[in-house]
Symmetry: C2
Subunit: 657 residues, 2 copies
């Protein structure tokens, strides 16, 4: 700390909260405001989550979801002709804002409108849209999305449920073939769903065609389970107990041929399987790709949960005093004036901003792809990769931020009357659902190694190993040549890299980006080299993959970190000059440098950071925390979490401790 | 991965589970077995925690605690003449083992026998022992430990409750002076406690003497709150809902003079305050020091919770298959055969072993100090520091391990029927109670900087800053001279340090220890230098402390990491040669190297690690994971968590997925 900075002291920061909120709200400010205005009416659900028995709370959440549906706030992504809003970007903005409130409500909305409704919309054709969309948007028909099985969570291509076509009856026969093929953790299944979109191995005339989706009725109008269907309650969960998750088994359940969601493949009246996509793997991933909105939404919810937690923890740290300050009046010091407390909260606040802007870019890409603005294959592939990667980082952010904020609020954070208990329990599973984060990053890694070519979308892990170790290795290595990358960092440094050991340029976003890009490219190249060496040494592909797996994950993570930082840097660069830009510049610097600091060993090992400069970065992170400290309150107020939703009476009530 | 190791392939590992359990059980094998045999009878409490309403569950937990008390399993630390077992070490072993079961039961045991009973025993004298011990050990008298206040969690010297001596009546008058001085989060207070040990500022004849403890009745025999006492329920919590935490306010409650727990200070019949310890700060810390068993116990519980989580996650990873292996039979690969999964679970398993042995040493030191074997001041000071530091690391371990294990078990880990939900919710507050972990590490840091001299035990943060920056700085720097430390690392390397850049010596525990010691000493010296520079530059001590705080924490952490590693290394070194020693050697190496890897940037920045050797350590961690993988099941089975307590039917039922 006592090393003097070589640069002159930067100006003090100030923030106009309303302008900050406007910036964060972006294109869909109206939608976000509408949902923020709506949410306080349902603030009591936060208390109900704590006090109501499970069954009662499930009914309460169902009611709230239906009420919210009646406002139109959750059907924005559906076509107007069925009562939707016809704007996908708006639907993401609404969902993201809804995540300030109770998360059982949010997840039940996600199950009904995102997963169930999304599958009908994206995998079905007009006959399904006409039959279901208007009812499901209005909440008259509740459904579920039955993909995951007890034995198959991540490897959904290997599902064990089978749909066999019976040409004589013109029907599919749905069967759960083994105990581990039972559908499991299916939201809405235990109580409320009347129909399910069921994912099953399609068999036509003795031939398997891979996993397809069919609409299968589960219950009659009065809620009684239909013959051949067996449903069991998943029971109490760590959190999200307003959502009725359950297991479903099918014993020869028959549905008409038209139940097949047939946008990408069909069975003709004559009993013939037809599809424009030849490879069954590629067909399946094309289907899955249309459901990408779910991942975008969960990531958005993770960022919103982080905002709620940080709002509470920062405000608490600005009320709570601890220990003697040494001042004459003997007053204790505010928690947030402690260097350690700043270190715990402010880089996490900066990272939450980064992921907010990354989610904004992602939602905009989603909108463009699904609104026909950029419907090409490449845009789709990039969207899917970006969605998978951002989901992983945003949900890990939530787990990390909620935990740290709880600890930073001490014992009071442990009381259920404060929101941390629910936030922690409810967000815990975000890292798992809509795809386990590690599996998602593997998917991103595969895309990076195969250059996102859709020709390889159906490669499994081992196919990927063989492909990259074979023909692709040269291409990947050429793309990631170290000298080219190195030059880009040199160019970003003042004096073309001569000032390697000084503090200068530490706050230059071009330097940050060059570092993040170097790491990404070098990591990808490293994986390609390792795969090739492994195969060349005669190891079997499974063993090669097992050994390289953590490098694949690290490469994918480096890739996503880079696009997240880019989103933040570009956002700030596009702002008008002024106080707000100055502040967000500092927040962006803090995010970027804290990221380099956290991975400093790697940068040093790869000669991209001198030990002197590494220490300078650590000092700079501390300096930035101190610089941002005076506007910490404004930075969380900018999130505009409605006061009624903070629910932290033991933490941020009127009384200063 | 394809870099060939320069050393020859080490022999395959094998483990005799019974022998491993015997080793882990150590000196108190009988006690541990007794508790393990007892626990399955109470396995149903795990289900009750999920299904019973709060009030009912509280009563259930109370019953179980009383039943367990009747077996004598929880009174082992009390003197035999009052019905205890007279063996402090045994009481820690029992508590640690009890932590395999429901944690509400554990914490209620801790409140009654550790906190309440411990305060009576340690702060009281014969009159209090005679009056209370027999009843409280038998569970006939339930009590609580009323220290924490709403406004004062960490800085307990600043408590706002006041006990004023009324010489005419020969009574103390207990008063809650402000809203923030209400006692809060007090276990047993909301329902079951009939008396409280209340910590309050003692005022005698208009003079304040600092915080003292008094026995204050709260409720009559029938459970009705007494006049002047107001109690409020803290309500639902994130977890531990079988413990009835509450708030207590006192409005002029009168207790006789003899209620003062007078081991360290007293008020005479004549109304005179007397104490052998002159400084009120030192007196208070002496009192607190006698309560160190609570910290030892919570740390032990953290390690036990980690063992339960790892047992479930490792067994799940040895049943669950995922994705194609590329083998001819098309079988999916076991989760634990994936490199990434090994990386997620096995270093955490190794660290759990390390903290097990660190807790064993700590419990033994506690026993020696409190059994009169090493009752000297220095042993006490070292014990308190070790207890504070180990508590922080053991409870952070639990938070980290439980979270990673939950994620590694996917969606099934989220169901309340599996233990993760309860483990996560119940252990969350371990990092906060018995002292916030960061505050505890600050305490450790203060001890390091003042050389654990009891003369400075009452220095506050700012006193510490002034003291170290002044006279102590030279002493600290002399103790931590870099050249001396450096030499010890050189000596540990083959060829006296010439082999700096090779893989050799990577598995030498002396090398690991030298690295950990260097980091510790260098970090301590760095803090001293920073404090001095800060004060010399004219900054006020509060600002200096704020800026140096994260360095203090880092130094303390480095210190505790070193003593943890030492405990592990010494344990293994003392073992007879054989398979078990070979295995634990590998586990110890994995722990040590994963620790260096996690802090590689620091070691490189301080010239203690070349980038080549840093990369070699990363490879070695991967190699060790692969080497330990075949005995992973045995390593968790050695913990001997009773099968009935695993409660993970959706994860490790008979059926292989």
């Amino acid at each position: 700390m006592a090393e003097e900075s070589t640069t002159s002291a930067p100006p003090a920061l100030s923030v106009d909260v309303a302008a900050l909120t406007e910036l964060l709200d972006g294109r869909y400010a109206d939608v976000r405001r509408t949902v923020r205005d709506l949410l306080p009416s349902y603030a009591s659900v936060l208390e109900d989550a704590e006090t109501m028995p499970k069954e009662e709370f499930r009914e309460r959440v169902r009611e709230v979801v239906l009420e919210i549906a009646s406002t139109g706030a959750v059907g924005m992504g559906f076509p107007k002709e069925y009562g939707g809003g016809g704007d996908i970007g708006a639907s993401i903005a609404a969902f993201e804002t809804l995540a300030y409130g109770d998360l059982s409500v949010l997840v039940k909305v996600g199950v009904q409108f995102g997963l169930f409704g999304g599958a009908i919309l994206q995998l079905g054709t007009k006959r399904h849209h006409d039959a279901y969309l208007a009812d499901l948007i209005a909440g008259r028909l509740l459904g579920c999305f039955a993909m995951t099985e007890t034995g198959h969570g991540s490897n959904v291509q290997a599902l064990g449920t089978v749909a066999t076509y019976d040409p004589d009856a013109g029907e599919f026969v749905i069967t759960t073939t083994t105990p581990s093929a039972g559908k499991d953790y299916i939201g809405n299944a235990a109580k409320h769903a009347r129909v399910a979109v069921v994912f099953a191995q399609l068999e036509v005339a003795g031939e398997g065609h891979g996993v397809h989706a069919l609409v299968v009725p589960l219950r009659d109008e009065s809620g009684v389970t239909l013959p051949g269907v067996r449903i069991e309650d998943d029971g109490q969960k760590m959190g999200l107990n307003g959502v009725d998750n359950g297991r479903i088994w099918f014993d020869g359940v028959r549905v008409p041929r038209e139940s097949l969601l047939n946008r990408f493949a069909d069975v003709t009246e004559g009993g013939e399987y037809v599809s424009d996509i030849e490879s069954s793997g590629r067909r399946f991933f094309t289907m899955l790709g249309t459901l990408v909105q779910g991942r975008v939404s969960v990531g958005a919810a993770g960022v919103s949960a982080s905002k709620v937690a940080l709002t509470i923890a920062v405000r608490y740290a600005l009320q709570r005093r601890q220990f003697d300050t040494g001042a004459d009046d003997g007053a204790e010091q505010l928690l947030l004036d402690y260097g350690l407390h700043q270190r715990r909260l402010l880089p996490r606040l900066a990272r939450t901003y980064a992921l907010h802007f990354a989610q904004e870019v992602l939602a905009s890409r989603l909108h463009d792809v699904f609104s026909g603005i950029t419907p090409d294959d490449e845009s789709r592939q990039l969207l899917e990769s970006r969605a998978a990667g951002t989901k992983a980082l945003s949900t890990w952010l939530a787990t990390d931020v909620v935990q740290e904020c709880r600890e930073a609020c001490g014992g009071a954070g442990y009381l259920a009357v404060n929101r941390f208990a629910a936030l922690k329990a409810d967000t815990d599973v975000f890292t798992t659902f809509e795809g386990d984060n590690h599996v998602l990053l593997q998917l991103v890694g595969k895309g990076l190694l195969t250059n996102f070519s859709s020709d390889f979308s159906d490669l499994d892990q081992l196919g990927m190993v063989r492909f990259v170790a074979g023909v692709a290795v040269e291409t990947v290595l050429e793309r990631t040549r170290a000298h080219r990358l190195l030059q880009s960092i040199r160019d970003a440094l003042p004096g073309g890299g001569d000032s390697w050991d000084t503090d200068s340029g530490l706050r230059d976003p071009q330097y940050h980006l060059a570092m993040y890009r170097f790491r990404e490219e070098h990591r990808i190249g490293g994986v390609a080299r390792r795969l090739k060496r492994g195969i060349d040494s005669g190891m079997n592909p499974g063993e090669v993959f097992s050994r390289v797996q953590d490098h694949v994950i690290a490469a994918a993570r480096a890739h996503v970190e880079r696009i997240v930082l880019e989103a933040f840097v570009e956002k700030v660069a596009a702002m008008e000059d002024g106080d707000l830009k100055l502040t967000l510049n500092a927040v962006c610097d803090l995010h970027a440098l804290a990221g380099i600091e956290a991975d400093a060993a790697w940068f040093i090992e790869h000669d991209r950071l001198s030990t002197q400069r590494s220490k300078a970065i650590t000092r700079e992170v501390g300096d930035l925390c101190r610089r941002i400290r005076p506007v910490a309150r404004e930075l969380v107020d900018g999130f505009a979490v409605p006061e009624a939703l903070l629910r932290a009476p033991a933490l941020i009530s009127g009384e200063s401790a």
